[in-house]
């Protein structure tokens, strides 16, 4: 569904992405992991067209994303730190995005209802806590029933109840055949939903593996332990 070819991006002297090649398919739930500053967010932002790479192409359903922005209709994106216009109210932000998307698909309000946003529509974005901002981001990401979900640290900052609600929603989306790309540092959290793992380091794609293969190769029972095992064996 998404194909990335020879993607390279530099920020000044820093190489955030170094010749990354990836093939992401429908129905996969992919964990994008790696140490801080390894290029995860840059990769995500490149897919969304927020960061423009120096080299390489990204194809969405065989179409180069440079040519047409319509592919963004099929993506739900939840940023790591949601930045919203400070003076806008929650209700206004939701209305604005709805009108931009001129939602043809029936809007999905489960998160909106479960996060009890209807009681906070008049609150300004500036006054929200980090967790509430994340709830708004999550609601917007899932609202239009996208085929692709890109979630950058989705549960960071959410309280345990909200995190559970969100996880249930992600699992539901996975079962309905969405492509889900998730970054998280809490590996244990990803355990039961992820089918593939992409590991990045210093802008390089280290590996892209099936979870089953990864566990078999390392001989460990959980993703977390396999990754730690791999990192340690590399140092040795």
């Amino acid at each position: 569904m998404i194909e990335i070819k020879n993607l390279t991006k530099n920020f000044g002297r820093l190489t955030a992405l170094n010749n990354v090649n990836l093939q992401l398919n429908k129905g996969e739930c992919i964990a994008l992991i790696g140490p801080n500053g390894c290029g995860k967010t840059t990769l995500i932002k490149s897919i969304l067209g927020m960061v423009l790479p120096e080299k390489g192409e990204i194809f969405f359903k065989e179409k180069n994303i440079k040519q047409d922005i319509a592919y963004k209709h099929q993506i739900g994106y939840m940023p790591q730190i949601g930045r919203y216009p400070e003076n806008m109210k929650i209700g206004q932000v939701i209305d604005l995005i709805k009108s931009i998307r001129n939602a043809k698909v029936a809007t999905d309000t489960t998160l909106y209802d479960q996060f009890l946003l209807s009681g906070m529509l008049e609150k300004k974005m500036r006054t929200l806590s980090g967790g509430t901002t994340q709830k708004v981001s999550a609601t917007l990401a899932f609202m239009f029933k996208p085929e692709v979900l890109i979630l950058d640290e989705p549960t960071a900052g959410l309280d345990p109840v909200a995190a559970e609600i969100l996880k249930a929603k992600i699992t539901e989306a996975k079962n309905s055949g969405c492509l889900i790309l998730i970054t998280s540092h809490l590996l244990s959290e990803l355990e039961d939903m992820v089918t593939q793992v992409i590991f990045m380091q210093d802008g390089f794609l280290k590996f892209h593996k099936n979870v089953v293969d990864l566990k078999a190769d390392t001989g460990k029972v959980t993703i977390a332990k396999s990754i730690v095992h791999l990192l340690k064996s590399e140092e040795a």
């Binding site: 932002k45 423009l52 319509a70 209709h73 003076n87």
Partner: protein, 254 residues
């Protein structure tokens, strides 16, 4: 064009544009009622417009560009073209500045001055607002640092409003022995504020106030052609900075 609506509403909520309109109104009403003849009042208003309109436009628009970062970021992750976002911001800002200029200075002008001159001043004041919004968008995109961007904007205003005429005069006196009228006129095209002054004074036919460039302008082109030419140049001053900023914005990493 729902984005445009949000931008305009957001700017109006800011209240600075409203204060700006009130201050312009106060200045123009008092200028007209204090001076005994309307030409003198008109000249006072002209000088106020030439000084304050660019300053407020360039400063407010630069700050607004930086404060819109979150808004831009939010929209870019959704199916909206970058050029649409940037144009909506520019249009929203320009419309707000022009409307508050017309409410503040336009109404007293229409009441006290003769219709032709008033119209000319409203048009050139509006153009001046839009030009400096465009300049602000350019300096806002050139640097990621807010303080730097605002600094550049203030320097540009200082240069166009105060330093430029002095510079032209200096060049003129330095090379007084040579036939340099035409190059000097070309120079005046490099400052939108100068162009506006020429435009209005050509219309009012007061060569004493025109400054060096204006007088030469009239000599060479005559009134009609001069007005047309300066008008075209002013339009270029809107399009060129904005177009460069648009290209830069399309290539910006968010």
């Amino acid at each position: 064009m729902r984005i445009l609506k949000y931008v305009v509403l957001d700017i109006l909520k800011n209240k600075i544009v409203i204060v700006y309109a009130i201050i312009l109104a106060l200045f123009s009403w008092s200028a007209f009622s204090l001076e005994d003849n309307s030409t003198k009042g008109l000249l006072t208003v002209l000088n106020i417009i030439l000084l304050t309109v660019p300053l407020v436009s360039v400063l407010f628009a630069t700050i607004y560009v930086y404060n819109s970062n979150e808004f831009i970021e939010l929209l870019v992750s959704h199916p909206v073209k970058r050029s649409v976002i940037w144009k909506a911001l520019f249009l929203g800002m320009s419309v707000s500045m022009v409307v508050s200029f017309i409410i503040g200075a336009g109404i007293p002008l229409l009441i006290f001055a003769d219709a032709g001159t008033a119209l000319m001043m409203i048009v050139s004041g509006s153009l001046l607002s839009v030009i400096f919004v465009a300049v602000a968008f350019l300096s806002g995109i050139l640097s990621r640092d807010k303080a730097k961007g605002i600094g550049v904007s203030i320097m540009l205003w200082l240069y166009f409003a105060l330093l430029f005429d002095g510079l032209v005069l200096f060049i003129f006196f330095q090379f007084a022995d040579y036939p340099i009228e035409k190059p000097v006129v070309l120079l005046s095209a490099l400052s939108p504020i100068d162009l506006c002054r020429i435009l209005i004074l050509l219309r009012m036919n007061i060569s004493a106030m025109m400054g060096h460039t204006g007088a030469i302008f009239k000599d060479i082109f005559g009134s009609q052609l001069g007005i047309l030419l300066s008008f075209i140049l002013l339009m270029l001053w809107v399009f060129v900075p904005f177009y460069i900023s648009l290209i830069k914005f399309k290539k910006k990493d968010l």
